[in-house]
Amino acid sequence: MASEEHHETFESTDAGASLTYPQQAGTIRKNGYMVAKGRPCKVADVSTSKTGKHGHAKCNFVCIDIFTGKKYEEMTPSSHNMDVPNIARLEYTLLDINEEGFCTLMMENGDTREDLQLPKGTEEADKLAETIREQFGAGQELIVSVLKAMGEEMINTVKIVNQ
């Protein structure tokens, strides 16, 4: 039964793939990912507790939104299923940045897209945006990797291409 599952879901690459997957709360570990209040988050801390000594185990999660940096706390019974987001990483070459901060990105096959802005919203994001502007302004050739989860995308890291 288990092997059939994989054959059917691996046919498509992203069109039919679901954005999240249910996983038992007890198996989610620190530095993993989960969905909290509808947002994709990275788990910062997990602890288990019980109501009284003879109740059933519950998990307490402290997690941080990947895109906005907000902190959420969730508590669920350990046997409950939580959604875990599917996280995709894509790499593009940076071609241009316009005044409003929109970036022109080129994929490996030559297509470009211009709908992505420089990262913002959290401290690290702002710093990253700074770094990108600096390096781009200095004439470096840059490759950015974009983090995509639950329909949202944001630039995550930047690398300088060595000539």
Partner: protein
């Protein structure tokens, strides 16, 4: 500036120091004075002339600091002069109460200066100095004589403290200088100090001056000096051959090891153990009870008694060889005297405890300390002989006193651990349990068989254990509604609880028939209570918690932890069971009953009605399986030594009892792994504690393989059912795979069983078993890796795929951990097929840290 001006300045600063506004400036002035160059003459001037006690104090401190700081630039006569000056001043002003701090500082300064110059002094000058010290007490009669004597004793005590490594001050010399001073003082002068202190104490005590307070504290000072000398070995950790003291410091309880052993060495035997050495102390003690019990004299006297109780080792003449279990008469006599001193502090037990709770617990605690030290440092035979001798002369028997006190302490909350209302009750109970442990542990020697505990101790132990069970159950029920903290279950709290229960187990094993029977009765009662609560819909937490406590206690009583050694039934139990006669039969029956009760608790988790009714909680299952695992490790199909008779009949290979127990536990494991989703602690105990024990022994594993529950578990594992393959935490999956594969050991080596199968057959069967278990997992992994790269990359981003791969890898790791010679070919074959897929997957998942 001349001395007069300096004095005025210092006095002024002392005044100003008292007011917050001028405090800082005054502090600066004083510090400046303290660091000034060659201040000693000015200090001396202030010490003699100034009316202000604070100024004198500062002068004394300055003198002390300067003496060390300017040592190099001071000529030898000046150094000696400082010493003599300090001595003379302290002796001269001995009687002035307001100057006690000044005196203490000067005495300390004297000690430091002495130590600093010790290296350059030869034997003659050292002896001369100590004669000078003793002479400072002269004249021996007349006004202030007692106070001067006290000062001399304080000086000697300061010297002892300064030369002892643990309390030496930093004087800017190398370590080996400190060590040399220490060993020289020990070899040349320590006994002399002790003798002097002993003489002073004895004379003031017997003349009644001490009790009446007419000795200006000389007796107390003498006793403090004696304690300091006796404790010399403890603080210096056994350096050199003289006063070695490898004591075992006990964590609980205040004030240095409760049962540390002081080993002064043979040479001290005369001065410490001669009858006249302690009679004066015994005569003094009765007058130090009641209202005087809190006074300094009483505190010192009790501390001295405790120090005497802690004597051990060569100071007692060694018994004749070949007679090791018997007690040397000197040890017995000493023990008896110390019991005579300490027993009044703890009897009658109820009254003493009541008094301690109401007023001051120091006396009771010192009594407990004394008892536990004596029990630890003397053989049980010696202790018993001393107790008997004492009882013969009319005092209560020590064992009876010990039992009553233990019961009273437990009733007052001694089992409550960290939450007790009065923490010292817990300390006292710990010390008493230590005493019991020392008394009841069977003494095993090289050449002799184990010796049973002393007569009379066993029944009392049984009663004490009954009290312990009640107290433990009450404490468990009281805590049933609180949340379980992490620390309690895993960290330091759990370790402390384990230790406590193992000491309680010593009590139980000393009198197995009543104690184990009591536990079995309580288990039945708790189960009935649980059923009643469940059927009427009430909250069953208290009953559950009680049952948990009982399961743990039963496991501790019946089995040792077996960590790092071959698990055998505990020595004490074996002793009781092999003694023969009706007592042994009763003990055997009780052990059997308790074992069955323990297994029944584990069986509770199998009953669906109980679960539905709320009579079974994950925690109960966890504790029950842990306890069953510990029991099974010792008693289920042991390979090396046969079980004692009674248990052999029930659980041995011949009867069906062992097989039934094995199947019960396997079914319980199966149920707990699959039926309690999300309870990772429970599954942790199952995979980590229970399953490894069940497969450890070949005989057990062989029966396991053919049993229904095991086949069900293995089948579910092989089919990669989600509850095992996905929902279990990854480390536990590893452990599960390991246990399942380790059971293959039962196949091989069948040649000795005489069933006619050739050896190769066993290996083949083992290989086949492992293949059936692991092949599906290997295939799954390979299938994943076989996808086209683009699909694989897309799949690698999916969280469920990541989890799947992690679990598969962990499962393989577990299986490999359990590789046996017979299964190696199969596993190798599986794995070699996976090498390429693993590399592929490794590349695909390169972004995922997990």
């Amino acid at each position: 500036m001349d001395h007069q001006q300096i004095q005025a300045l210092v006095e002024q600063a002392c005044e100003e120091f008292k007011h917050p506004a001028t405090q800082q400036r005054a502090e600066q002035v004083l510090l400046q004075f303290r660091r000034s160059h060659n201040p000693i003459p000015a200090c001396q001037h202030i010490l003699e002339r100034s009316p202000s006690a604070e100024a004198r104090f500062h002068a004394a401190c300055t003198l002390r600091e300067a003496a060390v700081r300017e040592w190099a630039s001071t000529p030898p006569e000046a150094r000696a002069a400082v010493r003599s000056y300090a001595l003379a001043y302290a002796a001269h002003h001995a009687g002035e109460a307001g100057l006690s701090v000044v005196r203490a500082t000067l005495v300390g300064a004297l000690a430091v200066v002495l130590k600093r110059g010790w290296g350059e002094m030869d034997a003659e000058s050292r002896a001369a100095f100590f004669r000078e010290v003793e002479a400072a007490a002269a004249p021996p009669d007349g006004p202030g004589a007692a106070a001067r004597l006290r000062v001399v004793l304080e000086v000697l005590e300061a010297v002892v403290a300064e030369f002892s490594l643990a309390t030496a001050s930093a004087i800017g010399v190398a370590w080996d200088y400190h060590e040399r001073c220490r060993s020289e003082l020990e070899a040349q002068f320590l006994r002399q100090f002790f003798q002097m202190a002993l003489d002073v104490a004895r004379s003031t005590a017997t003349s009644g001056a001490a009790a009446a307070g007419g000795d200006a504290g000389a007796c107390a000072a003498a006793m403090a000096l004696m304690c300091a000398v006796l404790n010399w070995g403890v603080r210096n950790g056994g350096g050199g051959g003289g006063m070695a003291a490898p004591g075992r410091p006990r964590g609980g309880g205040d004030g240095g090891g409760a049962a540390a052993a002081l080993r002064p060495g043979q040479a001290w035997g005369e001065v410490l153990l001669a009858p006249g050495a302690t009679d004066w102390l015994l005569g003094l003690l009765p007058s130090l009870r009641g209202a005087a019990a809190a006074g300094q004299l009483a505190v010192r006297a009790r501390a001295l008694v405790v120090a005497y109780c802690s004597l051990a080792g060569d100071v007692f003449p060694r018994p004749a060889p070949g007679d090791a279990a018997a007690a040397s008469p000197a040890a017995v006599a000493h023990c008896g005297r110390m019991l005579q001193a300490a027993l009044p502090w703890v009897t009658p037990a109820e009254g003493a405890l009541h008094q301690a709770l109401a007023n001051d617990e120091a006396e009771l605690l010192d009594g407990c300390r004394a008892l536990s030290s004596l029990a630890a440092n003397h053989k049980p035979a010696a202790f018993a002989a001393a107790a008997d001798a004492l009882a013969a002369s009319g005092a209560p028997h020590t064992f009876a006193a010990l039992e009553e006190l233990t019961r009273a302490a437990l009733a007052a909350g001694g089992a409550a651990g960290a939450d007790a209302a009065e923490p010292w009750v817990v300390d006292a109970t710990d010390m008493l349990l230590d005493a019991w442990s020392s008394l009841l542990s069977p003494q095993c020697g090289y050449a002799m068989a184990a010796v049973a505990p002393p007569r009379g101790a066993a029944e009392r132990a049984a009663r004490a254990f009954a009290a312990l069970v009640e107290a433990g159950l009450a404490d468990a029920a009281a805590g049933a509604h609180e949340d379980a903290t992490e620390e309690e279950d895993q960290g330091a709290g759990a370790a402390a609880q384990e230790e406590w229960l193992s000491r309680a187990a010593v009590l139980a094993r000393a009198a197995p028939a009543p104690a184990l029977g009591l536990l079995a009765d309580r288990v039945d009662a708790a189960r009935a209570e649980l059923a009643a609560a469940a059927s009427s819909g009430r909250d069953a937490s208290e009953a559950l918690e009680r049952l948990c406590w009982l399961a743990r206690a039963a496991a501790h009583a019946l089995a040792d932890t077996g960590a790092g050694e071959m698990p055998l039934p505990p020595e004490a139990l074996l002793l009781a069971l092999s003694a023969g006669g009706p007592a042994a039969a009763a003990a055997g029956a009780a052990a059997e009953r308790l074992s069955c009760a323990l297994l029944e608790i584990a069986g509770l988790c199998l009953s669906p009605e109980a679960r539905a009714a709320g009579a079974v909680s994950p925690r109960l299952c966890e504790v029950a399986l842990w306890a069953a695992a510990r029991w099974a490790d010792t008693y289920l199909f042991p390979e090396d030594e046969p079980l004692p008779e009674a248990l052999e009949a029930r659980f041995g290979a011949a009867g069906g009892g062992g097989q039934a127990a094995l199947e019960l536990l396997a079914a319980a494991a199966n149920q707990c792994l699959t039926g309690y989703p999300g309870e990772s602690d429970l599954t942790g105990v199952t995979t980590g504690a229970l399953l490894p024990v069940l497969v450890r022994r070949r005989a057990a594993a062989a029966r396991l393989l053919s049993s229904e529950p095991w086949r069900a578990l293995a089948g579910a594992f092989a089919r990669r059912e989600p509850v095992l393959a996905r929902d279990l935490p990854q480390k536990q999956q590893r452990a599960l795979a390991r246990s399942l594969c380790a059971a293959a050991a039962a196949f091989a080596g069948d040649h000795s069983a005489g069933n006619g199968r050739p050896p190769g057959e066993g290996a083949r069967a083992a290989g086949e078993y492992v293949r059936q278990l692991m092949e599906p997992a290997a295939r799954e992994l390979a299938a994943l890796a076989a996808h086209a790269p683009a699909q694989l990359a897309a799949a690698a981003e999916r969280a469920d795929v990541q989890l799947q791969v992690c679990c598969l890898v962990e499962t393989l790791r577990g299986a490999l951990r359990a590789t046996l010679p017979s299964t190696q070919p199969v596993l190798w074959q599986l794995l070699s097929g996976l090498l390429q897929p693993l590399l592929t997957l490794h590349w695909a998942f390169r972004h995922q840290a997990q």
